[in-house]
Amino acid sequence: MFERFTEPARRVVVLAQQDARERAADRIRSEHLLLGLCRATDTRAATLLAARGVTRAVVEADLGAAGPTERPDQPDLPDKAALASVGIDLDEVRERVEDAFGPGALESTRAAGSRGRRWGHIPFDRAAKKVLELALREAIRRGDRSIGTEHVLLGMLHSETGRAMPLLAARGVTLERMRAALDEPGAASG
């Protein structure tokens, strides 16, 4: 599915996954994709968002104000913050394990898999999948050959794509406005 994604758009998906993991979410949702767009700061989408005052901090504040959707922490899950409390850096451990056994080695173990998804592959929820499908459609609609961050942004501005759309609408970021902004001269892909 991601073979048509540009490198920045792939980075956004990776960041969204990281974000979902850090928040102990069981699915990658549209708000995680939005945070990913904000975090990849040098991209077309992040530039469009930042110009309208939508940054990572703003999105996090809005999500916090709207109330949590994540399930509470399960005590038996490997928890990055809990390990940090006894001086263990989970990212550092993962990095060293992957040096020896390859990418995803830690996540591939039964111990990690049987106790939750926080370490490993987290699936997209239905709305986030829809965002990615709509991103493809937006790219086709614009005659672009690859899916960039701006298409992911347009994808999440459709209805029934989860929490990102109403949050962005409240900040004045709508499908029509973003399409228009991309039609302005000098709008590079990325």
Partner: protein
């Protein structure tokens, strides 16, 4: 990682929720690392006896735990 002061504060916390969560996470991490190491040892031709000695447990214990999932 969080800054050193915050980590030190959390590590010395007497809040059971913090301490127990740390232990639970350590256990999961331990299980993952053990699994990777046992699999690697088997891939390199180590016997269950040798692996058990390396882990300082009985051969029966390690064999029972992993034989169904490794090899």
């Amino acid at each position: 990682m969080a800054d050193a002061t915050a980590v030190a504060a959390a590590a010395s916390s007497r809040d059971p929720a913090t301490g127990l969560a740390a232990v639970a996470s350590l256990r999961t991490l331990l299980e993952s690392l053990e699994e990777l190491q046992v699999r690697n040892a088997r891939d390199q031709g180590w016997s269950w006896q040798q692996i058990a000695a390396g882990l300082s447990v009985s051969r029966q214990a390690v064999h029972k735990k992993y034989r169904r999932h490794i090899d």
